[in-house]
Symmetry: C2
Subunit: 320 residues, 2 copies
């Protein structure tokens, strides 16, 4: 491993990635995902190039056809000449940490296309949530020059909220026969969607899902100039309706730009990223892997009843 690491020349790798070399892109994402010692150097080298890609989150309950829709959307976006990156964040046990779906399965449709890069990432950290390294991986694809970065997540609670925090535009997928009432009634879904997609629209009940969703959305309080999320019907398997989805994404992007909301969302996203890095750095400083740390000493004093956890936290912060 040390041999491979020592062979990496970061500026060269970044240059090759930006020139469209998929292997260089993959290598950069791996350095990020593995929390390589080169991570900081990679991030510094990418900094000048980031901030151009449109980041689109794709979420929805298992079974609504997220992967099929993502794949069809990639085809649509490629047809319009965009370079597209896809990060598929898979569920994984907090203990095993492994991704359930392999890259090869997802790649097969677009394997021969240099303008598409697809990558599965393990959802480490919290169950179903976004991987800690997802924001960094988005940054790699962005800096490498992909025009659109699709981030596909399994829609389980926290990841829905996370994806909305990461993306410029969030697509929420639904499908008939999936417990429609419950799907739509979930508060989270109504809060985060910028574009709603009713997939499997050739099946019975699609119109009802749309009707139900529309009435739920109508109840939401929105200001005069707020974005009104469109509802698009698709049959992703047949490639139907994806042009409309792509148009809705473009509309939303134009709205984000015209209102200044794009800059606000991106600043908010980066704030969160900086905060997470800072907190992680502090935690590892506090943990002080070698020997008995100050945090240990404070914890022992609290256990002994000598001070309370708030006073202990004050001391910890005063010294760090």
């Amino acid at each position: 491993m040390s041999r491979r690491s020592s062979a990496v020349h970061v500026p060269d790798l970044v240059e090759r990635a930006r020139a469209g070399e998929v292997r260089a892109v993959a290598r950069l994402v791996s350095l990020v995902e593995d929390e390589s010692p080169l991570l900081r150097e990679v991030m510094a080298a990418l900094a000048p190039y980031a901030g151009r890609a449109q980041v689109v989150g794709v979420t929805g309950s298992p079974g609504v056809g997220k992967s099929t829709t993502t794949s069809a959307l990639v085809r649509e976006l490629r047809g319009a000449g965009h370079r597209v990156g896809v990060l598929a964040v898979d569920p994984s046990s907090p203990f095993s940490g492994g991704a359930l779906l392999g890259d090869r399965v997802r790649m097969s449709d677009h394997a021969s296309d240099d303008g598409v890069y697809i990558r599965s990432m393990a959802a480490r950290g919290h169950l179903g949530g976004l991987a800690w390294s997802t924001p960094q991986a988005i940054r790699v694809l962005d800096a490498a020059g992909y025009d659109v970065v699709l981030v596909e997540t399994v829609g389980v609670g926290q990841s829905e909220v996370d994806i909305a925090a990461q993306a410029d535009t969030t697509l929420v997928l639904l499908a008939p026969g999936m417990g429609d009432g419950i799907q739509a009634a979930k508060a989270g879904i109504l809060e985060i969607g910028d574009v709603y997609v009713v997939n499997k629209a050739d099946r019975d009940g699609a119109d009802e899902v749309r009707r139900h969703l529309r009435s739920m959305l109508a109840l939401a309080e929105r200001t005069e100039d707020a974005w009104r999320p469109p509802i698009v019907k698709t049959v992703a398997r047949a490639g139907t309706g994806l042009d409309e989805v792509a148009a809705a994404i473009a509309d939303h992007h134009a709205w984000l730009e015209s209102t200044g909301e794009l800059a606000r969302r991106r600043t908010r996203r980066v704030r969160r990223e900086i905060e997470t890095i800072a907190v992680t750095a502090l935690r590892s400083r506090w943990a002080d892997l070698g020997g008995r740390s100050e945090l240990d000493a404070l914890a022992e004093r609290v256990v002994a009843g000598e001070c309370d956890p708030y006073a202990a936290a004050d001391e910890l912060l005063a010294d760090s």
Copy 2:
């Protein structure tokens, strides 16, 4: 509100709680849960008295009979002369923040018993996870002199892991007919249980659940002197088997004490508590609610490509 707050005399409240006055206990938990300005004073006043209670987590999938088992276990522990506190952490939407089950429902069985205090708490913060204030509420009940504090959580992913981090002893409940294979195969369940309870043991399939669980547990690598989680069969509705559960909890507690693991677990728990308080304090310092914060300024520089998020995090930490 200001009038009620100003009327609170914390040392007096703590004294009354320790004397067994349930209303004073309830008031202290509310001050904690509402993140009252008095929170720090409350925690400081409680510090000398904490660290005596045995904290027992009760978790399992919806439908296994957690509340019934908890209630029957309370009766068993009361019969043995223990004062018992119960914190029921309920699922809630990240947006609504409300607890689904009221205190009154849960109280009814033990309403006339001064030696029992039962409280529902909203699971704010992350979906299904433990409320941020749960460690503090445990601390209140502990300092108020409850011998055993039961923390009941809905077993959804993260909360299972959280509860194991908070409790001295974690009970994992299963029941026949709940998708047994999946229940037991979930890595999380096998990692966190100190005592396994197969509830509804009068139903078909209970022995199979136990057998399956036993074979899964046998696969886990354990050192010679490690705790071997017992599997207890109960029919909580009929009050059967709870004596065995109580005995298993006592056995585990004795093992924790004899091996020094109790002190280690408690120190680890308090470490986490201090860390969370410190991180929360830092986050709000960074957010700097009035005006444009340093974090905002850094985020804008990263968005502009002038620096990378790691360098920004370094600057943030250097200044805080």
